[in-house]
Symmetry: C2
Subunit: 398 residues, 2 copies
């Protein structure tokens, strides 16, 4: 594979803390970056660049690691634009609309689902997302969950079995039976296509006992744990996630001090992030449901590791834009631009327990974004503007 030099980088966000300025962002200025075989192999001053087969001139722009979107629901059919419009006219979001998408998803062909997943994956990549986690959760039958994950696995290695998204209508009167189905044949069919297991632990979805049972079954077959927790109100999700060693608890809108303490405790002695439970915040959901935002400042000040993700889904957050989430995090959640950029790159990588992405240093994957801007600050300073000029994924320009 020919080598590629990205030259004339004005500001390189490495997320390699301690190397360069900007604290955790590890910012280096006026550098070049050499890629071979899909990996970063060298970073150094533009005055002393090695030879390479190809060259991209970043023209003084900012370059950062590709965004890591660690929470997305891309396998679905149908459109809930009308529900969105009704909500903006005053209706409240309860999560009940998920069942609308379940019906449409079950009725769709594989090729329809595949087309949607690929369209949204491509849309996200154009906006700089080089890694995206994709959940099932709109099938809720053995066959439909398995095919959702099979289709997701065609475009991402970060696939998550979310059979416990809601209790489907046909099991409404007997949720215990649905939990048995999820832990039994559904998990067996899903696990070959999944890396993670996730549960929507919330009033109206799954309580702590059901969630623990499902997540424990998933762990037993080798899946890592993530939890939808504390979105619509206080609840047991965050502490359950910590108890089970979850890589991430997601949403975290309504937290008690004990929840925050539990998250902080997972960082004790964890140098490489291997046992930390990340708080993944999804401000697109609060934007699109007109709900109060989570308090990122409180989490950061306490020492919790924070990630940002899109929650891309047709009901509560139909954005695929990580830059939009960064801008919201700064405007609405008290994060600095640097904290938000870190959370959308390195934070997402931690939430997926990955150390090869979300960082730019020799040995890391050559997933990176060249901005139409001189600084990472512009991602918050210029909200809504498509600032991603070029994306390299595994070292290949897209």
């Amino acid at each position: 594979m020919p080598s590629l030099l990205v030259d004339n980088i004005g500001e390189l966000v490495t997320n390699d803390a301690g190397r360069g300025e900007g604290g955790p962002l590890g910012i280096r200025r006026r550098v070049a970056l050499l890629i071979e075989d899909g990996e970063v192999v060298w970073i150094g001053p533009t005055t002393d660049t090695p030879s390479a087969d190809h060259r991209i001139d970043a023209a003084g722009s900012a370059v950062l690691p590709g965004f890591v979107d660690s929470h997305a629901h891309l396998v679905f059919a149908g459109d809930r634009a009308a529900e969105f419009a009704a909500r903006m006219a005053g209706e409240r979001y309860t999560g009940g609309g998920i069942r609308t998408t379940v019906g449409a998803t079950r009725a769709a062909s594989d090729s329809e689902l595949r087309a949607t997943v690929r369209r949204l994956r491509a849309e996200a990549l154009r906006q700089g997302t080089t890694t995206i986690e994709i959940k099932s959760g709109y099938g809720l039958t053995v066959v439909d969950e398995a095919r959702s994950l099979r289709i997701a696995a065609e475009v991402s290695t970060e696939t998550t079995f979310l059979g416990a998204h809601v209790v489907p209508a046909e099991y409404a009167a007997r949720p215990d039976d649905y939990v048995s189905l999820v832990c039994g044949p559904m998990l067996a069919a899903a696990a070959p296509h999944a890396r993670w297991i996730d549960v929507f632990c919330e009033r109206g979805a799954f309580d702590a006992d059901h969630a623990r049972a499902i997540l424990t079954c998933g762990q037993a077959v080798g899946l890592g744990v993530r939890v939808h927790a504390n979105q619509l109100g206080p609840g047991p999700g965050v502490q359950l996630g910590v108890e089970l060693g979850a890589a991430s608890v997601d949403h975290c809108t309504h937290l008690t001090d004990a929840d925050v303490d539990a998250l902080v405790s997972t960082r004790a002695g964890d140098e490489d992030g291997g046992t930390t439970t990340v708080a993944t915040l999804l401000p697109g959901a609060e934007f699109s449901t007109r709900s109060p935002y989570p308090d990122a400042r409180r989490l950061l000040d306490a020492g919790v590791t924070v990630a940002l993700a899109t929650d891309c889904n047709p009901g509560s957050s139909y954005t695929s834009s990580m830059p939009f989430c960064i801008a919201l995090a700064v405007r609405e959640m008290g994060m600095t631009p640097a904290e938000a950029v870190w959370a959308a790159t390195a934070g997402g990588a931690r939430a997926l327990r990955r150390d090869d992405i979300g960082v730019l240093r020799p040995g890391a994957r050559a997933d990176l974004v060249i901005l139409d801007a001189p600084s990472h600050l512009h991602l918050a300073y210029r909200p809504g503007v498509p600032l991603v000029r070029q994306v390299l994924h595994n070292g290949v320009p897209r």
Copy 2:
């Protein structure tokens, strides 16, 4: 000029009220649109299309009039990303940073200013903005205001003399002298390049007497009136604008009932919008200064004509994205998606007293946007996502 047929339009927003569904949006479904000599000449069913030299297949997508951004400050030099970051960390926006940009703008060469204007104009066009108003206001000398407008006029016919943006530092002790300069030699040098005159009527900028004096001088040489009004607090700007027959009063964040009544009164008997004073809301500014949003719902319910614009400028709102403003208007200002889309197209046209843009009907300019989405709703439903697939400006694909 060869004819062009845009075929297979799934949803056409015409803004031709009374024709089609959706009230003021005048939505028509499954239609085609024929363009000749930069104008729309025919709209009709896809089953009965005329022949044309070229054809674009909209593939069932939504098509709408190009966005009309009636408030932007594109002629400047320098970058205030650091000020933005400090504000997000808690500093308050007072407008004082304008003087930073004035210094950088005066020091810049014509070609530097021209490059920035053209870069931002192109960036806006890619996002669907086919008409953009451009203000001076960072020169604040006779020479620098005139050259700012000369450069703006190279890319837009909608140019606005804003010599009364702030009192420059060198006149701080003698604002009356600055008003005399603006009304005298500065206006004389600016007027040949401008269609409009504007004043920042706000505590800390220009009071009602100064603003009236400047706007009246501008009217005397044939310029139309616009006012920056009631952004940072209550004030006389809106009623002054109404008194002088302004096409638009912009910001309107802090309004009394008397302000709203004054705006409503301008619509009495005004069938074609020729005397209406539009309230142009700029939610990007509230987003980027973390300020309370204007209450669009109150204005709409009272019967005021509302426009949306970006306020694109390096200090308080460095977005060029009309779709972002639409999404904010729906989330934060109580507008329906239909109202926000109308305000960003037809509303902007009213704010510029234009009837050839912001509308798609035979005789209108062929300025239009083809979305990567089946409905205009997606502009609010999918915030932050670049949904503009193709832009036609004067009938020419860009």
